[in-house]
């Protein structure tokens, strides 16, 4: 009797372990090293899963501009579609994922900065975004200066909202939410006047089917964010990736990806800077 009881407990524990093991998604262990040269079994690419228009998990398949660029680059490096293992790369974890060699490349609205260059390498840029504002279509806001006394939404810890407050409109009311979805929901309820982050992310939000025709990107960017491909320090992939990006732009696939993902939104990327020329590899 006693043994049965403790035996049952042990069985339950074993079942729980099995449960936790089978849930991992069954992904194959990918290329061991960050090097991941062509011919290796698969390539692990970090993207956003919750950023419509850039990297979005549509229930089993992935869509967005970052995803399309990643697919193209992976294709040029010799990986077919089913050799790509998509990994979620939330902003807070991107450096960790790379320095621990848990992904080979990151395409996740990843701005090239000097601080980040200390821990990771970058290829690209493949796009140049700028912090901007998303407002209702009938709004009179034309730039961050107009935000005094208005309500501005961003995600917790955003540098964009802080910049607006510090440099343009001291009297702005900041509200921080766990995600941009909450911000857009609040704006369609009429409680906030603008959402701020990189313009292409805003355009992606506005391009959502449910938001069509409701919002516009102001088009007055107040920063320059060079989206790069995050690589492990010392990776040898940089020049190959740059060549792939250049080819993508030349072939027109870059333009096409941008148009496809941001269809129906009144948004033009900063034409002086886009499409960009990749920087030289270090």
């Amino acid at each position: 009797m006693r043994t049965t009881r403790y035996g049952a407990l042990a069985m339950a524990a074993a079942a729980a372990l099995a449960l936790s093991a089978c849930g991992g998604g069954g992904g194959e262990e990918g290329a061991e090293e960050g090097g991941g040269e062509a011919g290796a079994e698969s390539v692990r690419i970090g993207i956003k899963f919750d950023q419509p228009g850039l990297g979005f998990d549509e229930g089993g398949s992935y869509s967005g501009f970052d995803v399309d660029v990643a697919r193209y680059v992976a294709g040029e490096l010799g990986y077919s579609e089913d050799q790509i293992e998509w990994v979620e790369a939330p902003s807070a974890n991107r450096e960790n994922l790379l320095s621990n060699e848990q992904v080979d490349m990151i395409f996740a609205t990843y701005s090239i900065t000097d601080t980040r260059k200390e821990t990771v390498d970058f290829a690209g840029p493949y796009f140049i975004a700028g912090q901007d504002l998303l407002v209702p279509v009938d709004s009179d806001i034309t730039g961050p200066e107009d935000l005094d006394g208005r309500n501005l939404c961003s995600v917790t810890g955003s540098t964009s909202a802080q910049r607006v407050k510090d440099e343009y409109a001291e009297g702005v009311n900041l509200i921080e939410q766990p995600g941009y979805a909450e911000c857009v929901s609040l704006m369609s309820g009429g409680q906030i006047d603008a959402v701020t982050t990189d313009d292409i992310i805003l355009a992606g939000l506005a391009a959502q089917e449910a938001n069509q025709g409701q919002f516009k990107v102001v088009g007055n960017p107040f920063s320059e964010e060079k989206y790069g491909v995050g690589l492990t320090k010392g990776s040898e992939l940089c020049s190959d990736i740059n060549a792939a990006i250049e080819k993508m732009i030349e072939e027109g696939a870059w333009e096409e990806a941008l148009a496809n993902n941001l269809e129906g939104v009144d948004y033009e990327p900063n034409a002086e800077l886009n499409p960009p020329t990749p920087d030289d590899c270090a």
């Binding site: 807070a92 450096e95 960790n96 309500n151 917790t156 810890g157 009311n173 509200i175 921080e176 939410q177 766990p178 909450e182 929901s185 609040l186 309820g189 009429g190 409680q191």
Partner: protein, 224 residues
């Protein structure tokens, strides 16, 4: 060590904890009031109020607090334009208090009901025998004894509330859990010291509350 201390110059940890303490204080008062009212509903002779009390408790006790806090911001503020203060930030602070109060009131109600269960039947019978009707009997005889019997479970609700005040981070309130996340993101080399700073902060707040309520529940227990 120096770089650890420099963290405190850069980030105001004490202020973040102070926000948690304020959230806890106000939510404790409101949830105690609302919870007592709900407990009264549940023991009252009026069927519709009994039903309301029971339904309220079943709904709020079984919903994750994060969803309640999110509804406060997205539905009450976002859609219904409920404003609890003309000051923008104070409004979210108060919405968080509202969410915390609504959630914990369900637990306060159950704690008081368990306190009511410690009051012997004879007390209610005696109250009726001297001609008290429901409300005076509840106010003068039952609840005073029930509160004293409910101090331990109420103390547990208070401890839970203190810790749950961190969930207000999801409602645009700058408190300690949010600050810890920011600090770790910017100083990932100091993950462990940062965590233990915040963890011990909560240990320092929670353990005295536990000791105090245990002491009070013994001291104030109705001896039978």
């Amino acid at each position: 060590m120096d770089s650890f201390l420099s963290l405190f110059e850069q980030y105001d940890v004490a202020a973040a904890f102070w926000v948690n303490i304020q959230l806890t204080f106000w939510a404790a008062i409101w949830s105690l009031l609302l919870g007592t009212l709900l407990a009264l509903f549940r023991i009252s002779p009026i069927a519709s109020l009994q039903w309301f009390g029971a339904t309220y408790v079943n709904i709020f006790r079984n919903t994750p607090l994060t969803i309640i806090i999110a509804f406060g911001v997205l539905a009450l503020f976002g859609q219904l334009s409920v404003s609890l203060s003309s000051d923008f930030n104070l409004n979210f602070f108060r919405l968080a208090i509202l969410g915390l109060s609504l959630y914990h009131a369900a637990f306060v109600c159950e704690a008081i009901r368990s306190g009511v269960n410690t009051v012997p039947l004879g007390q209610a019978e005696a109250a009726r025998a001297i001609g008290l009707s429901f409300l005076p009997a509840a106010r003068l005889v039952i609840l005073p004894q029930a509160f004293r019997g409910a101090i331990a479970p109420l103390g547990n609700v208070l401890i839970a509330l203190t810790k749950n005040s961190t969930v207000a981070a999801a409602g645009s309130v700058a408190e300690s859990a949010g600050l810890m996340k920011t600090m770790i993101e910017f100083r990932s080399d100091m993950v462990i010291p940062i965590f233990f700073t915040f963890a011990f902060g909560f240990v320092l707040i929670v353990i005295p509350i536990g000791l105090l309520t245990t002491w009070a529940s013994k001291k104030l227990a109705v001896s039978r």
